[in-house]
Protein backbone atom coordinates (compact mmCIF):
# COMPACT_ATOMS: atom_id res chain seq x y z
CA UNK A 1 0.00 0.00 0.00
CA UNK A 2 1.52 3.23 -0.99
CA UNK A 3 2.10 5.99 1.54
CA UNK A 4 -0.92 7.76 0.10
CA UNK A 5 -3.43 5.18 1.30
CA UNK A 6 -1.91 5.20 4.80
CA UNK A 7 -2.18 9.00 4.98
CA UNK A 8 -5.76 8.82 3.64
CA UNK A 9 -6.56 6.33 6.41
CA UNK A 10 -5.05 8.61 9.06
CA UNK A 11 -6.92 11.60 7.64
CA UNK A 12 -10.17 9.69 7.63
CA UNK A 13 -9.89 8.29 11.17
CA UNK A 14 -7.80 10.79 13.02
CA UNK A 15 -8.49 9.57 16.57
CA UNK A 16 -8.96 5.87 15.77
CA UNK A 17 -5.50 5.33 14.27
CA UNK A 18 -3.08 5.31 17.21
CA UNK A 19 0.11 5.06 15.16
CA UNK A 20 1.38 3.89 11.78
CA UNK A 21 4.77 2.51 10.80
CA UNK A 22 6.19 0.47 8.00
CA UNK A 23 8.74 -2.32 8.46
CA UNK A 24 10.13 -4.79 5.94
CA UNK A 25 7.85 -3.39 3.25
CA UNK A 26 4.59 -3.96 5.14
CA UNK A 27 2.65 -0.83 6.06
CA UNK A 28 1.08 -1.16 9.47
CA UNK A 29 -1.60 0.88 11.23
CA UNK A 30 -2.45 0.42 14.87
CA UNK A 31 -6.15 1.01 15.37
CA UNK A 32 -8.08 1.22 18.64
CA UNK A 33 -10.52 -1.61 19.24
CA UNK A 34 -13.60 0.60 19.46
CA UNK A 35 -13.28 1.99 15.94
CA UNK A 36 -12.23 -1.29 14.35
CA UNK A 37 -15.56 -2.01 12.64
CA UNK A 38 -15.73 1.44 11.06
CA UNK A 39 -12.09 1.36 9.90
CA UNK A 40 -12.47 -2.07 8.39
CA UNK A 41 -15.70 -1.13 6.58
CA UNK A 42 -13.99 1.97 5.19
CA UNK A 43 -10.97 -0.06 4.09
CA UNK A 44 -13.18 -2.61 2.35
CA UNK A 45 -14.83 0.28 0.54
CA UNK A 46 -11.40 1.65 -0.36
CA UNK A 47 -10.59 -1.52 -2.30
CA UNK A 48 -9.18 -3.89 0.34
CA UNK A 49 -11.67 -6.60 -0.55
CA UNK A 50 -9.57 -9.52 0.70
CA UNK A 51 -8.81 -10.46 4.32
CA UNK A 52 -5.62 -12.48 3.99
CA UNK A 53 -5.00 -13.42 7.58
CA UNK A 54 -6.08 -12.76 11.16
CA UNK A 55 -3.98 -13.76 14.13
CA UNK A 56 -2.84 -12.53 17.54
CA UNK A 57 0.41 -12.10 19.42
CA UNK A 58 0.78 -12.46 23.19
CA UNK A 59 3.36 -9.91 24.36
CA UNK A 60 3.48 -11.02 28.00
CA UNK A 61 4.91 -8.23 30.18
CA UNK A 62 3.98 -5.31 27.92
CA UNK A 63 0.90 -3.26 28.77
CA UNK A 64 -1.52 -4.02 25.94
CA UNK A 65 -0.74 -7.68 26.43
CA UNK A 66 -2.44 -8.99 23.30
CA UNK A 67 -2.47 -7.50 19.85
CA UNK A 68 -4.74 -8.85 17.15
CA UNK A 69 -3.13 -8.59 13.71
CA UNK A 70 -5.12 -8.37 10.48
CA UNK A 71 -3.57 -8.61 7.01
CA UNK A 72 -5.54 -7.14 4.13
CA UNK A 73 -4.96 -7.18 0.40
CA UNK A 74 -6.66 -5.41 -2.45
CA UNK A 75 -7.31 -7.75 -5.35
CA UNK A 76 -7.32 -4.92 -7.87
CA UNK A 77 -4.15 -3.01 -6.95
CA UNK A 78 -2.35 -5.85 -5.18
CA UNK A 79 -1.36 -3.58 -2.31
CA UNK A 80 -1.27 -4.99 1.20
CA UNK A 81 -1.90 -3.53 4.65
CA UNK A 82 -1.51 -4.76 8.23
CA UNK A 83 -3.89 -3.55 10.95
CA UNK A 84 -3.02 -4.17 14.59
CA UNK A 85 -5.49 -3.84 17.44
CA UNK A 86 -4.26 -3.81 21.07
CA UNK A 87 -6.36 -5.87 23.49
CA UNK A 88 -5.82 -5.34 27.22
CA UNK A 89 -5.91 -8.24 29.65
CA UNK A 90 -6.56 -7.26 33.26
CA UNK A 91 -4.64 -9.63 35.58
CA UNK A 92 -6.95 -12.76 35.72
CA UNK A 93 -9.82 -10.48 34.76
CA UNK A 94 -12.38 -11.14 32.02
CA UNK A 95 -11.19 -12.14 28.53
CA UNK A 96 -10.11 -9.21 26.32
CA UNK A 97 -12.75 -8.05 23.84
CA UNK A 98 -12.31 -7.16 20.18
CA UNK A 99 -15.24 -6.46 17.82
CA UNK A 100 -15.73 -9.21 15.27
CA UNK A 101 -15.48 -8.48 11.53
CA UNK A 102 -17.35 -11.57 10.33
CA UNK A 103 -20.06 -9.36 8.87
CA UNK A 104 -17.48 -7.63 6.64
CA UNK A 105 -15.41 -10.65 5.56
CA UNK A 106 -17.02 -14.08 6.14
CA UNK A 107 -13.54 -15.68 6.12
CA UNK A 108 -12.93 -14.19 9.57
CA UNK A 109 -15.35 -16.73 11.11
CA UNK A 110 -12.91 -19.60 11.61
CA UNK A 111 -9.90 -17.32 12.00
CA UNK A 112 -11.53 -15.57 14.96
CA UNK A 113 -12.61 -18.88 16.44
CA UNK A 114 -8.99 -20.03 16.25
CA UNK A 115 -7.72 -16.87 17.98
CA UNK A 116 -10.37 -17.36 20.68
CA UNK A 117 -9.33 -21.01 21.02
CA UNK A 118 -5.60 -20.26 21.22
CA UNK A 119 -5.49 -16.89 23.03
CA UNK A 120 -8.81 -16.46 24.77
CA UNK A 121 -9.58 -13.17 23.04
CA UNK A 122 -13.36 -12.84 22.80
CA UNK A 123 -14.80 -11.46 19.53
CA UNK A 124 -18.08 -9.67 20.23
CA UNK A 125 -20.70 -10.20 17.56
CA UNK A 126 -19.25 -13.49 16.35
CA UNK A 127 -22.17 -15.82 15.46
CA UNK A 128 -20.71 -19.05 16.83
CA UNK A 129 -17.63 -18.52 19.04
CA UNK A 130 -16.50 -22.01 20.14
CA UNK A 131 -13.17 -23.81 20.19
CA UNK A 132 -12.12 -24.95 16.73
CA UNK A 133 -8.75 -26.69 17.02
CA UNK A 134 -9.01 -28.06 20.55
CA UNK A 135 -11.73 -30.04 22.27
CA UNK A 136 -14.39 -28.41 24.42
CA UNK A 137 -13.08 -29.91 27.66
CA UNK A 138 -9.70 -28.13 27.27
CA UNK A 139 -9.13 -25.58 30.03
CA UNK A 140 -6.89 -22.60 29.37
CA UNK A 141 -5.51 -21.01 26.21
CA UNK A 142 -2.39 -22.82 24.94
CA UNK A 143 -0.71 -20.19 22.78
CA UNK A 144 -0.46 -17.78 25.67
CA UNK A 145 3.11 -17.39 26.84
CA UNK A 146 2.24 -18.53 30.37
CA UNK A 147 0.79 -21.87 29.25
CA UNK A 148 3.55 -24.55 29.47
CA UNK A 149 4.05 -26.45 26.22
CA UNK A 150 3.82 -29.95 27.66
CA UNK A 151 0.84 -29.45 30.02
CA UNK A 152 -1.44 -32.18 28.70
CA UNK A 153 -5.13 -32.49 29.54
CA UNK A 154 -5.87 -36.03 28.34
CA UNK A 155 -9.44 -37.01 27.47
CA UNK A 156 -8.70 -40.69 27.63
CA UNK A 157 -5.79 -42.83 28.74
CA UNK A 158 -5.42 -46.60 28.93
CA UNK A 159 -5.21 -47.91 32.47
CA UNK A 160 -2.66 -50.73 32.60
CA UNK A 161 -3.81 -52.04 35.95
CA UNK A 162 -7.34 -52.70 34.64
CA UNK A 163 -6.29 -55.17 31.93
Amino acid sequence: MSKVDLDKLVAQFREAVLSTHSSHGDDTAVVSAGQLGAVMRWLKGAGFDYLVDLTAVDRLGQEPRFEVVYHLRSMSSGSRLRIKVPAHQVEDGPAPEVPSIVQIWPVANWLEREVWDMFGIKFTGHPDLRRILLYEEFIGYPLRKDYPKEKRQPLIRRDYTME
Binding site: L133, L134, E150, K151, P154, I156, R158, D159, Y160, T161
Partner: protein, 183 residues
Amino acid sequence: MAENYLTKLDDALNWARKYSLFTYPFATACCAMEFMATMAPKHDIARFGAEFPRFSPRQADLLIIIGTITEKQAPALHRIWAQMAEPKYVMAFGVCASTGGFYQNYGTVPGCDQIIPVDVYVPGCPPRPEQVLDGLILVQKKITEGTTWVQRRDRGEKHGGEWVTPRPSENAEKKPGHLPVVS
Protein backbone atom coordinates in the same frame (compact mmCIF):
# COMPACT_ATOMS: atom_id res chain seq x y z
CA MET B 1 8.88 -71.07 23.92
CA ALA B 2 5.37 -69.94 23.00
CA GLU B 3 4.86 -72.90 20.65
CA ASN B 4 3.75 -75.38 23.26
CA TYR B 5 0.80 -73.20 24.17
CA LEU B 6 -0.74 -73.68 20.75
CA THR B 7 -2.69 -76.71 19.62
CA LYS B 8 -2.73 -77.90 16.00
CA LEU B 9 -6.08 -76.15 15.31
CA ASP B 10 -4.74 -72.84 16.57
CA ASP B 11 -1.71 -73.32 14.38
CA ALA B 12 -3.89 -73.76 11.32
CA LEU B 13 -6.07 -70.80 12.25
CA ASN B 14 -3.09 -68.54 12.88
CA TRP B 15 -1.59 -69.59 9.57
CA ALA B 16 -4.83 -68.60 7.78
CA ARG B 17 -5.17 -65.34 9.72
CA LYS B 18 -1.55 -64.46 9.13
CA TYR B 19 -1.81 -64.47 5.36
CA SER B 20 -5.15 -62.67 5.05
CA LEU B 21 -4.77 -59.61 7.27
CA PHE B 22 -7.45 -57.07 6.33
CA THR B 23 -6.09 -53.68 7.39
CA TYR B 24 -8.04 -50.74 8.83
CA PRO B 25 -5.78 -47.79 7.88
CA PHE B 26 -6.44 -45.24 10.66
CA ALA B 27 -4.67 -42.61 8.56
CA THR B 28 -4.31 -39.07 9.90
CA ALA B 29 -1.04 -37.36 8.98
CA CYS B 30 2.07 -37.41 6.77
CA CYS B 31 2.57 -41.15 7.16
CA ALA B 32 -0.59 -41.59 5.07
CA MET B 33 1.43 -40.42 2.05
CA GLU B 34 3.93 -43.16 2.71
CA PHE B 35 1.10 -45.65 3.26
CA MET B 36 -0.18 -44.77 -0.22
CA ALA B 37 3.28 -45.55 -1.55
CA THR B 38 3.29 -48.87 0.35
CA MET B 39 -0.06 -49.80 -1.19
CA ALA B 40 0.96 -48.63 -4.64
CA PRO B 41 2.32 -51.08 -7.23
CA LYS B 42 6.01 -50.42 -6.56
CA HIS B 43 6.23 -51.51 -2.89
CA ASP B 44 3.14 -53.64 -3.22
CA ILE B 45 1.67 -54.64 0.16
CA ALA B 46 -0.49 -57.18 -1.69
CA ARG B 47 2.42 -59.61 -1.72
CA PHE B 48 1.80 -60.14 2.00
CA GLY B 49 -1.94 -60.59 1.81
CA ALA B 50 -2.74 -57.25 3.43
CA GLU B 51 -3.80 -55.43 0.32
CA PHE B 52 -7.46 -54.86 0.98
CA PRO B 53 -8.07 -51.86 3.25
CA ARG B 54 -11.37 -52.26 5.08
CA PHE B 55 -12.73 -48.94 6.29
CA SER B 56 -15.01 -50.60 8.83
CA PRO B 57 -13.60 -52.01 12.07
CA ARG B 58 -16.02 -54.92 11.89
CA GLN B 59 -14.26 -56.40 8.88
CA ALA B 60 -10.66 -55.53 9.76
CA ASP B 61 -8.04 -57.62 11.53
CA LEU B 62 -5.04 -55.31 11.61
CA LEU B 63 -5.50 -51.72 12.82
CA ILE B 64 -2.65 -49.66 11.37
CA ILE B 65 -2.37 -46.29 13.15
CA ILE B 66 -0.84 -44.07 10.46
CA GLY B 67 0.29 -40.66 11.70
CA THR B 68 -0.01 -38.48 14.76
CA ILE B 69 -2.76 -39.18 17.29
CA THR B 70 -3.87 -35.94 18.91
CA GLU B 71 -5.76 -35.65 22.19
CA LYS B 72 -8.93 -34.78 20.24
CA GLN B 73 -8.55 -37.90 18.06
CA ALA B 74 -7.79 -40.26 20.97
CA PRO B 75 -11.41 -41.14 21.92
CA ALA B 76 -12.14 -41.90 18.25
CA LEU B 77 -9.12 -44.21 18.07
CA HIS B 78 -10.10 -46.02 21.25
CA ARG B 79 -13.69 -46.45 20.06
CA ILE B 80 -12.58 -47.88 16.69
CA TRP B 81 -10.14 -50.27 18.34
CA ALA B 82 -12.88 -51.43 20.74
CA GLN B 83 -15.28 -51.98 17.84
CA MET B 84 -12.89 -54.18 15.93
CA ALA B 85 -13.85 -57.81 15.66
CA GLU B 86 -11.65 -60.34 17.42
CA PRO B 87 -8.89 -61.33 16.89
CA LYS B 88 -7.42 -57.88 16.32
CA TYR B 89 -3.82 -56.75 15.99
CA VAL B 90 -2.43 -53.22 16.10
CA MET B 91 0.56 -51.77 14.31
CA ALA B 92 1.84 -48.25 15.10
CA PHE B 93 3.02 -46.80 11.75
CA GLY B 94 5.66 -44.13 12.24
CA VAL B 95 7.29 -42.41 15.18
CA CYS B 96 4.30 -40.15 15.92
CA ALA B 97 2.05 -43.16 16.43
CA SER B 98 4.71 -44.99 18.44
CA THR B 99 5.92 -42.26 20.78
CA GLY B 100 4.50 -38.93 19.64
CA GLY B 101 7.68 -38.17 17.69
CA PHE B 102 9.00 -34.65 18.01
CA TYR B 103 5.53 -33.35 18.89
CA GLN B 104 5.88 -33.47 22.68
CA ASN B 105 3.20 -30.92 23.52
CA TYR B 106 -0.29 -30.38 24.92
CA GLY B 107 -2.05 -31.45 21.74
CA THR B 108 -0.38 -34.75 20.92
CA VAL B 109 -0.73 -38.11 22.64
CA PRO B 110 2.81 -39.35 23.42
CA GLY B 111 2.37 -42.64 21.58
CA CYS B 112 -0.87 -44.50 20.84
CA ASP B 113 0.00 -47.22 23.35
CA GLN B 114 -1.20 -44.72 25.91
CA ILE B 115 -4.66 -45.45 24.53
CA ILE B 116 -4.72 -48.95 23.08
CA PRO B 117 -2.37 -51.96 23.31
CA VAL B 118 0.02 -52.06 20.34
CA ASP B 119 1.69 -55.16 18.90
CA VAL B 120 4.29 -53.77 16.51
CA TYR B 121 5.93 -50.33 16.42
CA VAL B 122 7.37 -49.21 13.08
CA PRO B 123 9.86 -46.39 13.60
CA GLY B 124 10.59 -43.71 10.97
CA CYS B 125 9.17 -40.35 10.11
CA PRO B 126 7.71 -41.46 7.77
CA PRO B 127 9.04 -45.02 7.70
CA ARG B 128 10.16 -46.26 4.30
CA PRO B 129 7.75 -48.73 2.69
CA GLU B 130 10.30 -51.50 3.26
CA GLN B 131 10.19 -50.77 7.00
CA VAL B 132 6.40 -51.00 6.91
CA LEU B 133 6.51 -54.36 5.15
CA ASP B 134 9.07 -55.50 7.72
CA GLY B 135 6.64 -54.43 10.44
CA LEU B 136 3.90 -56.42 8.73
CA ILE B 137 6.10 -59.51 8.61
CA LEU B 138 6.79 -58.99 12.32
CA VAL B 139 3.02 -58.95 12.99
CA GLN B 140 2.70 -62.19 11.06
CA LYS B 141 5.56 -63.74 13.04
CA LYS B 142 3.96 -62.69 16.32
CA ILE B 143 0.67 -64.22 15.23
CA THR B 144 2.27 -67.59 14.58
CA GLU B 145 4.25 -67.42 17.83
CA GLY B 146 1.12 -66.46 19.73
CA THR B 147 2.71 -63.45 21.37
CA THR B 148 0.29 -60.75 20.16
CA TRP B 149 -1.58 -58.87 22.88
CA VAL B 150 -4.91 -60.52 21.98
CA GLN B 151 -3.46 -64.00 22.19
CA ARG B 152 -1.76 -63.22 25.50
CA ARG B 153 -4.98 -61.87 26.89
CA ASP B 154 -6.89 -64.94 25.71
CA ARG B 155 -4.37 -67.05 27.60
CA GLY B 156 -5.09 -64.93 30.65
CA GLU B 157 -1.55 -63.59 30.96
CA LYS B 158 -1.63 -60.65 33.36
CA HIS B 159 1.01 -57.96 33.43
CA GLY B 160 3.08 -60.32 35.50
CA GLY B 161 3.94 -62.00 32.22
CA GLU B 162 7.45 -61.76 30.87
CA TRP B 163 6.91 -58.56 28.89
CA VAL B 164 7.33 -55.27 30.72
CA THR B 165 4.74 -52.50 30.37
CA PRO B 166 4.99 -49.00 31.86
CA ARG B 167 3.23 -48.87 35.20
CA PRO B 168 1.47 -45.70 36.42
CA SER B 169 3.45 -44.14 39.29
CA GLU B 170 2.18 -44.76 42.79
CA ASN B 171 0.85 -41.26 43.39
CA ALA B 172 -1.49 -41.49 40.35
CA GLU B 173 -5.06 -40.98 41.44
CA LYS B 174 -6.71 -44.35 41.17
CA LYS B 175 -9.49 -43.21 38.78
CA PRO B 176 -9.69 -45.67 35.83
CA GLY B 177 -8.58 -44.29 32.52
CA HIS B 178 -6.52 -41.31 33.76
CA LEU B 179 -2.77 -41.10 34.16
CA PRO B 180 -1.23 -38.17 36.07
CA VAL B 181 -0.92 -35.05 33.92
CA VAL B 182 2.74 -34.62 33.08
CA SER B 183 3.42 -30.95 33.82
